[in-house]
């Protein structure tokens, strides 16, 4: 037990050491911290109430009074982008964590149990994976009815099969490892093997996938918001704001530009961090 704690400690300090040496990953982490903080601190940072209409200040260009300008009913876009982060980043985190949690459990179970259970589960996942994710998400979100919560549910459901496949593949590999066989000869229960060996060793690639998926989910939620299946007006959500700005595209460029920029920067942050973590956790890369 003590050896394991020491090894975990060693591994995590090695992780931080590598993280410091990879500037792109640090930039990614920095972006994420910055965007999350500004979303969380929106009530403190925002100069205006994001939902208060001020018809005397409609469609004003960016200025010192309104950093990102105002929309067609005079709401401050800077404040709305800050508050919108709570919605968009929240959706991203929810989708990635719930999908990876459920998917990993199903995948490990399927890999450990094997036989007909595995066959049935994997056939269902294959079918779900063969429908393009945007199309399936759209169909589900449309059927559930347009709202941010339903969009979130739809994206989560569609992401689960990716984790099932990943976790199952990992499980099948780990199940054949000598140390698992050794544990089995000592009479370890199936539950013990899953908890102590499979999940712990299958986790790194799943963590990488989860990180990358936060960015994906934010983009997907914004896309659904854009075609009218996600957050509804007047909710301050980035995709819906870009969509609302379409009607004022040519003369009021700031309306669509700033919320979209927020989506792009946040997604870049999670993608950089995910890529960097993959390089660190992938043993093949170390040899090269």
């Amino acid at each position: 037990m003590r050896a394991m704690v020491a090894s975990l400690k060693h591994r995590s300090s090695y992780f931080w050491y590598q993280l410091r040496r990879s500037p792109m990953t640090m930039i990614g982490l920095g972006i994420i911290i910055f965007m999350c903080l500004s979303a969380l601190l929106a009530p403190v940072l925002a100069p205006y109430n994001p939902d208060v209409i001020n018809l005397r200040a409609r469609l004003q260009a960016p200025s010192m009074a309104h950093f990102f300008g105002t929309d067609e009913v005079g709401r401050d876009i800077f404040s709305r982008v800050l508050y919108g982060g709570q919605q968009s980043i929240g959706v991203g985190l929810f989708v990635a964590f719930v999908a990876s949690f459920i998917g990993t459990i199903i995948g490990c179970f399927s890999g450990i149990f094997g036989k007909w259970v595995d066959t049935i589960i994997m056939r269902i996942m294959d079918v779900m994976l063969s429908i393009p994710s945007l199309v399936l998400t759209m169909a589900l979100a449309a059927a559930l009815g347009p709202s941010l919560f339903n969009a979130m549910l739809a994206i989560t459901l569609v992401r689960i099969p990716y984790y099932v496949r990943l976790a199952r593949g990992q499980t099948l590999g780990i199940r054949e490892m000598v140390y698992v066989k050794a544990a089995q000869t000592f009479g370890a229960s199936r539950r013990h093997i899953v908890q102590w060996h499979v999940i712990r060793n299958a986790l790194p690639p799943i963590i990488v996938q989860t990180t990358l998926d936060i960015g994906n989910a934010i983009l997907m939620a914004a896309a659904l918001g854009f075609i009218g299946l996600g957050a509804q007006q007047p909710t301050a959500e980035w995709g819906a704001m870009v969509s609302a700005g379409r009607n004022f595209l040519i003369d009021q460029w700031w309306y669509s530009t700033f919320p979209g920029l927020a989506i792009l920067i946040t997604a870049i942050g999670f993608n950089l961090l995910g890529d960097g973590m993959r390089d660190m956790l992938d043993p093949k890369q170390k040899v090269k």
């Binding site: 056939r123 079918v127 063969s130 429908i131 199309v135 759209m138 040519i250 792009l264 997604a267």
Partner: protein, 338 residues
Amino acid sequence: MSVFQIIFKRLVGLVFVVLGVSVITFIVSHLIPGDPARLIAGDRASEAMVDAIREKLGLNLPLYEQYWLYLKGLLQGDLGTSIRTGRPVLQDLLAFFPATMELALVSLMLAILMGVPLGVLSAVYKNKWIDQIARTISVMGISMPAFWLGLGLIIIFYGHLSWLPAGGRISQGLPVPPLVTGFYLVDSLLAGEMNTFYSALKHIVLPAITLSFVHLGVVSRQIRSSMLEQLSEDYIRTAKAYGLPKWQVILRHALPNALIPSVTVLGLALGDLLYGAVLTETVFSWPGMGLYVVNSIQALDFPAVMGFAVLVSFVYVLLNLLVDLLYLIIDPRIKEVG
């Protein structure tokens, strides 16, 4: 395993996938909270009329019988009738298909033409500035909300510079070229109408850039990693030792081998482009399947949305199969390993 056995196995798999997709779309379309019969009949219809429609659509039957009817229809190419347009969904989708395909193909060409050189350069000059730029572009690509990029391009190239149109396939007033392939770029050339061709070309530039940008990153990343793998192989060292010119080694020896694993990525990219067009078409009012589906979603026209899902999944799986077959042709080693 022989090639035919592989093909047969995949075709059987295809049938199961299509069956599975039909079950999923059937379940999803029955999740709808409202009553489809009432939706079709309209608000002012009498109860008797709604009942008649329900009867006609088989909505009063038990679920398994409804599914059986749905499946029987699917097998005969019947994707249902659109509530919004009143026409068969398949007929609607096929009418819009060429526009989407044209956009997807042009985008794929753009992504390959720019992504392959970018990937090769960033592998050859690994960790140099050109590699950093290529990697930055690819991270931007996968993080970019495509609809937002499209809007930005419209602001710049239509709003400020007035160089390019903001939407549609050709300028209003120009005659639509006689239908041969359904691709305006090809049809106008075949008809010898240079004005129409020029207009179609101008209209496709911005949507194609928007749609290809995401895949530019995917392609260059794939080429980079498979080029790096090839460049470290022994035969490359041998070729270099013989004193062959650097770029001959890279382009004639390494690149063809690096392209083989990339075929899968490129094939799947075409599938992604087809449904990725949903957002791009909406931004640019490009009259393809994507725009049709978004309009259908907003009108709660579920048969159209589900029909789109079935058709696109079918094309997607078929593309997968074609890519695998292509793989067998270009890489003879696979047959032996099989």
